[in-house]
Amino acid sequence: MDVANRIRAKLTEALAPVRLEIVDDSHRHKGHAGHDPRGESHFSVTVVSEAFRGKSRVERHRQVNALLAEELRERVHALALRTLTPDEAA
């Protein structure tokens, strides 16, 4: 499975997001440090989920980073994150 789909599957399973946007920004980092010629090295992810309620930004990002630890270690060099509750996203 490609990286974007792995990210989607893991976040969907763990966070049941009401909205999940995964944008592959790898082409914008061509030639930069951490760029992988296979692509799928840089992502922007927006997650809107009830699971974030009552948690600080740092806690939310830690939660997502932990879910994607494998991807971050293997392939993903940069993950830009926006983590919101449905109220905050409204």
């Binding site: 990002h61 830690r62 971050l72």
Partner: protein
């Protein structure tokens, strides 16, 4: 993690009000994400210490373990981890960053 590394980090964040662990220096950032946070801090006129993790591989790895945070840059204010690039930018845009710095007694310029 090497205890000398964690001690060094602890000293940095204790002895300086605002510390940015980054790739490169505030004058010559070596990464767009680090540069973005430097830009935000400069724009607010906040005095900070930049720590270049690229000059020391044990620090580059150590800061990730110390903070339990997988990426660099990392911003510490008064010994407390505030966030990485996304969080800093988001908080700056909503005005929370300025508020939170002022609440901790850090001088922030109005722009």
């Amino acid at each position: 993690m090497d205890t000398t590394v964690s001690e060094r980090i602890r000293r940095d964040i204790t002895e300086n009000d605002v510390v940015l662990f980054m790739k490169g220096t505030p004058v010559f950032p070596q990464c767009g994400f680090s540069a973005a946070v430097v830009q935000v801090l400069n724009h607010m006129g906040v005095t900070f210490k930049g720590v270049d993790v690229l000059v020391d591989p044990s620090l580059r790895q150590g800061i990730k373990e110390f903070t339990n945070w997988p990426t660099i840059p990392q911003l510490y204010v008064k010994g407390e981890f505030l966030g990485g690039c996304d969080i800093v930018r988001e908080m700056y845009e909503t005005g929370e960053l300025q508020e939170s710095l002022r609440a901790k007694g850090i001088a922030v310029e109005d722009r």
